[in-house]
Amino acid sequence: MRIRRVGAVARFELLSVVKRWSYLLATFGLPIFLAVVSGTVLGAQTYFLTQRAAESSDFGLVDEAGIVDRSVFEGRDGALVWTANANEVMLYETRDAATQDLESGRLRAVYVVEKDYLSSGEVRAIQSEKTPLLSMRGTTIEPLLRSLLRKSLVEGRLDSDVQERVISPAYFVRSRLGPNGAEVTGVDEALDLLVRTTIPLFLGILLLTALLSASGYLVQTVSTDKESKIVEVLLSSVTPEEILAGKLFGLGAAGLFQFAVWSSMVVFVAISASAALASVVSIPWGALAVAPLLFILGYLFLGSLMLATAALGANAAESQKLTMGWAMLAILPLMVLVILLDDPHGSLGQVMTWIPFTSPLTVIIRMAVDSSGIAWWEVVGAMGVLLLSTWLSSRVGARLFRVGFLLTGSRPSLAELWRQAR
């Protein structure tokens, strides 16, 4: 194989792709697009939550059992009001008065302590017709009412400290062991989730997208060569193996650059999260470091198969159909992502680490979720399997490529392919 010719093919293919608008848009537009979408979603979510918070948080309480401790209520504008955790609870003497205020929209809900409460424990929660039943989820009113009822029931019957513990038996203080083994409190759950799940997920999706995108360029370039009928001109100057290698390297470089741009977005998020959670969680630097290597190996393996198969198609549409099977195999880890994120080092994760189609994505996800659970020999072994598979696929691929590249019209039978590829 003549390196300079391979280089010439690679350079031409690389420049042909990177000068396209679609490539530039995908490379630089995707991070912006994702940022805009994420920003919009988060912004909308925040807006609606704020709106919800601004909604009436006044509740009515009707004490038909006559057991509620009224000492916590204070008189305001002729009414008895208990303020707790930004909620205001108004005590009504009759159910009708409370229902009227509920219908007028002044109250969000009315709670009625039924007459037989002591024997049944029943407290009726009434919402207005306009309020969705689910809208009460996430509010703190019901735990507060429980505390109030407990206080009312035990008031004066127990020692004050015991009474306090009956009302509030436990305040859970969340803490966890950080990467350095120290106990840390005050963990932000959202950021924790981001680092532990979102980063591996994004990294995996970006790796897969870059792999399929670069492979897609390969399919496209073979179709272009065949449709523009330049194949014979190329083959009278360079060997099919040189064309195959040149296309693989040239378009691989374009794909690698695209992946680098996209990964930098993940790195940026990781660094931002790291600043907030440095002592709590470790950033998956290992996964980020091996990602380019896994991309290159995965791409060379998948790409050589894609090129050979695409060459058998008579046109772009047919080539895409023929190569779809390889893409589906590569997507497999994404299909079982929930299992991989939940149990990255389980049997499924371990098996998929050794299958060349699934290993790049699986290894990345396993390393990103919990790098301590994957042994170094598994990472090196997966790369070894990928290297071996790439060697095999490129040898078979080059032969099929030679046969397929010159084909026009109908596709040959498998027997004919075998005969010509020998």
Binding site: A8, I230, S236, S237
Partner: protein, 296 residues
């Protein structure tokens, strides 16, 4: 020794036999005409010679050895199915094809500029190929083929789609190659171009070689034993087996033993005033139709 030689070459595609035991060779410095009707096997023969396809049987040698990368660098090929990257710019495309033939980047760029000048396309060097007319695109392809000044150049239908001015340009380029000792294989259906350019020809029909040799010798071989005599004398009145060819000209069938020169001498000696005298030589069009027309 042939620069490109085939010995007993056969090629089959499934049940279809594309070539059957073809043997011929192209010698250095000549313009070799590869003729045949559509689907005769010419393109397959060319592809095998340039190692694009492999023969099922027989041997091929290019520059004295089996076709290999080094030999291919000394050749160039203009296929009948024209191929270009339509989105590429003209200079960029030529530079790339030059690089594939082994030119260094600067040399490829210089050669591209030189050949665009030669074919009169300098002004479109920075345009995309898709913006060019069919004829201009064809000239770009011819420039790409000749830009490395290859020792062997295979041109498949180089004149199709060209206007008379550009046909003359390409004809001149082929003549130049012959004058400088370069070899050209010309596959064309334009028989008058074959007559004007080729030194030797081969005719392939249904995968078989049906005619092969020196152009002049073949034309003589297939010529009728007749002459055209321009004279004011009524030859029929003199008892000659002649028919009126055109005003003042007679088409005369020679006796089997007579030669054109001997017969001219006889006419002059018998007192006929000969204005002009020409032995009839078969046209390649007629030979082609005679050889392949029967079975079509």
């Amino acid at each position: 020794m042939g620069i490109l030689a085939y010995r007993g070459v056969s090629k089959r595609f499934g049940q279809h036999t594309a070539l059957e035991g073809v043997s011929l060779e192209v010698v250095p410095g000549e313009v070799f005409g590869l003729l045949g009707p559509n689907g005769a096997g010419k393109t397959t023969l060319i592809r095998i010679g340039l190692d694009i396809l492999r023969a099922d049987e027989g041997e091929v040698s290019l520059f004295g050895a089996s076709p290999n990368s080094k030999a291919l660098d000394r050749t160039a090929y203009l296929p009948e199915e024209r191929g270009v990257y339509r989105r590429a710019r003209v200079r960029e495309l030529l530079g790339y094809l030059g690089r594939l033939k082994g030119l260094k980047r600067a040399d490829a760029r210089n050669a591209a500029d030189h050949w665009l000048e030669r074919v009169g396309l300098s002004r479109v060097a920075d345009q995309r190929v898709e913006s060019l007319s069919k004829g201009m695109t064809q000239k770009v392809q011819i420039a790409a083929c000749l830009m490395t000044n290859p020792e062997l150049c295979v041109l498949d239908e180089p004149f199709s789609g060209l206007d008379p001015v550009n046909v003359a340009l390409v004809t001149d380029l082929i003549e130049e190659r012959r004058a400088s000792g370069r070899t050209t294989v010309l596959s064309t259906h334009m028989m008058h171009q074959v007559e004007a350019l080729c030194d030797r020809v081969a005719l392939i029909h249904r995968g078989n070689l049906v005619m092969y040799g020196e152009l002049d010798e073949i034309r003589r071989r297939y010529s009728p034993h007749e002459v055209i005599v321009w004279t004011g004398t009524d030859l029929v009145a003199l008892g000659v087996r002649a028919t009126q060819h055109e005003a003042g000209a007679w088409r005369v069938a020679l006796p089997p033993s007579a030669t054109p020169a001997g017969y001219l001498q006889e006419l002059v000696q018998s007192g006929v005033l000969v204005d002009r005298y020409e032995p009839l030589v078969a046209r390649m069009d007629d030979i082609f139709v005679d050889l392949v027309g029967g079975g079509r």
